[in-house]
Symmetry: C2
Subunit: 385 residues, 2 copies
């Protein structure tokens, strides 16, 4: 096992009827900016519940944060905070709203052009406004981590920031608030969480026994409940477990002390930035091909994954690896996510556009071994056609 | 799944050669009291490393904290802190030293007789001195939680305190510092961690899928490495995984949102207080009998435990439950822990002494269903003979 540090001070409030807890969790004298996305938080009644819980406080609101939140949009929120007396942020939504809120928290008092925060991946952050979250979409894990991803539309770039200053103070996870989500978003969330786990797990054996067992248990749970989450939208226990899996997938425990491979995410980010494909859907395209291209360097873990997660014990090693990859692809497709670039009418010419963007963003040594060069990314994209 | 709150702000520094990090982790101007146990921290060189890392600071030391730390001993540390300028505590040792340090942190500024802290199980704590830990013995999980257990020798009572004020600020976990531990303590640690997990897991099915998979993964890991931890004391990966399992066993994640059964611990505490039997060894006596007595109320989880942890899939339900309990008992015995009261020359008369102590401490409604009355505890003890 590798040396590691683990620190995660976010307080989780999990369960039914927990939004009222905001009145205890947000400081009495706070002047709050509520940030949210589209109309679903309004229609589902979640926003109204939040407003009622904070009725005694000064509240402002900032809506319209898009999926893959943009620098352009979030800078409007930064201006609003700078020009008002706001001193506490509350994100109400999914990963995009929370990521956007993290950026606002870090940018408000940042000296200089806030885009530099993203260019430096958050290393230059010296503080952030305090904020909490009310999660409505289980997927990204942003509600319990220190990571945010922001898209710059003008530059067609999607960059991350990582800083312990942007841990949420608290996150309220009420599974009933997910009942009215569009099923496409739920399916995306299942796949997003699944691939978050895979990227921290499916590298090479590194004797992280706890981490492996946790990863495998989370993957097994997603396989058990993925279809139910689509077919039974108001099954409390299914939605509760989905929510807790997605949070657990990216709160730092799965990847502590083991190698990580975020190449699928990095290639996927470029597909979203260039073509507007949903984040999770880009991952569903890239991952199976990535595993195929790396079947040698990932051999040990692919066999372990096949056996422990999918119960694959028969056949020779090559056959078991093929089965593991095929099961993975089928899992995504059965949830309604296509797994080929050609399903999105993308072809050979588009691969070179993606490669050019990866090059422009310095994504030339990806993967757990740092050997996913542009040429290897090209092979992965070709295998995704 | 039940509603739950999860909060754990302890920073973990895990790995080889990490004690030097103390210089960053302890405030520059802190006046530190180092608390430790017997001579092993000195002999292993760990204490010297700690002293070197903190050489620039004012340091005092308090040694001699016993296994099952006593109120009497820890009050001497409280007096030392009160009569000096100490404002930061550093526990160097295992769960006993850390538990004792938590009590000192809470007691120093407590108004009134500090024993009341334990009588109220920590509910009356309003603050605590900050402290960190350097862990030398993987077992109790105290390095990453808000719980301490203190024994009052005069009253023959062993009581716990639970308070978010006593989370360690940080804990340093260097697996190499466990190489020189007596093997008896290592075996105790494996069993202690195992039973911590069991008591949060083996109750009744409650749809905590993540929690179950995590618990099962931790148990499987202990089964895989338990004997190796004894037979190969300086195998880094074995000791590293043991350390991380023991911490993960009781940092709040396994038990979040699911019923818990601490009856084995409560009965075991009385055996330690009355007869001085090592904590883990009392648990190894009580648990198999407890599972036997509760085979009906725990049926669903006993079958799941047998199948997922021990791979028991053949036989009828009764046979599978018998096998699961027998495997558990054998696991403890193969590590050198006896599992019968009679192995300690305790008999029928002693059972009534234990029952009287449970009654005196209000331990009359134990277990996940609150139905472990004194009569049921008596049956468990009889089945432990």
């Amino acid at each position: 096992m590798r040396n590691f540090e683990y620190y995660n001070p976010t307080k989780i409030i999990f369960g039914k009827d927990t939004i009222g807890r905001l009145d205890d969790l947000v400081p009495r004298d706070a002047r709050v900016l509520i940030l949210y996305g589209g109309s679903s938080a309004e229609k589902s009644g979640t926003l109204d519940e939040v407003r009622r819980a904070l009725a005694d406080r000064s509240i402002r609101e900032f809506g319209g944060i898009e999926a893959n939140p943009t620098y352009e949009t979030m800078m409007k929120a930064v201006e609003l905070v700078r020009n008002s007396e706001v001193d506490f942020l509350l994100a109400v939504g999914g990963g995009s709203v929370i990521d956007g809120t993290k950026f606002v928290a870090a940018a408000v008092n940042f000296e200089g052009e806030p885009w530099h925060i993203l260019e430096e991946h958050g290393r230059n952050i010296r503080g952030a406004l305090p904020f909490g979250t009310v999660l409505t979409l289980p997927a990204t894990g942003s509600e319990m981590n220190e990571v945010a991803v922001i898209t710059n539309k003008a530059k067609q770039a999607k960059l991350d920031l990582i800083s312990s200053f942007v841990f949420p103070r608290f996150s309220i996870l009420d599974p009933t608030k997910t009942y009215t989500l569009p099923l496409r978003q739920v399916a995306n969330g299942v796949v997003d969480a699944f691939i978050h786990i895979i990227e921290q797990y499916l590298t090479y054996p590194a004797n992280g026994m706890v981490q492996d067992r946790l990863a495998e248990g989370l993957l097994q749970t997603l396989i058990e409940i993925g279809a139910q989450a689509i077919n039974s939208p108001d099954d409390y226990d299914v939605r509760a477990n989905l929510m807790w899996v997605a949070t657990s997938a990216l709160n730092g425990l799965v990847g502590a002390g083991v190698p990580q491979d975020w190449s699928t995410h990095m290639i996927g980010h470029e597909l979203t930035a260039l073509y507007g494909i949903d984040h999770a859907r880009t991952l569903a395209i890239i991952l199976p091909a990535n595993l195929q291209i790396h079947r040698e360097s990932k051999r040990g873990k692919l066999l372990q994954y096949g056996e422990r997660v999918w119960g694959i014990t028969s056949g020779n090693e090559e056959q078991r690896i093929d089965q593991a990859i095929a099961h993975t692809r089928s899992f995504f497709e059965n949830l309604g996510l296509q797994t080929r670039l050609s399903d999105y009418n993308l072809g050979v010419d588009d691969i070179e556009r993606v490669i050019a963007q990866l090059e422009a963003h310095g994504m030339t040594q990806l993967g757990e071994n740092g050997d996913v060069t542009l040429e290897i990314s090209r092979q992965i994209l070709q295998a995704s056609l």
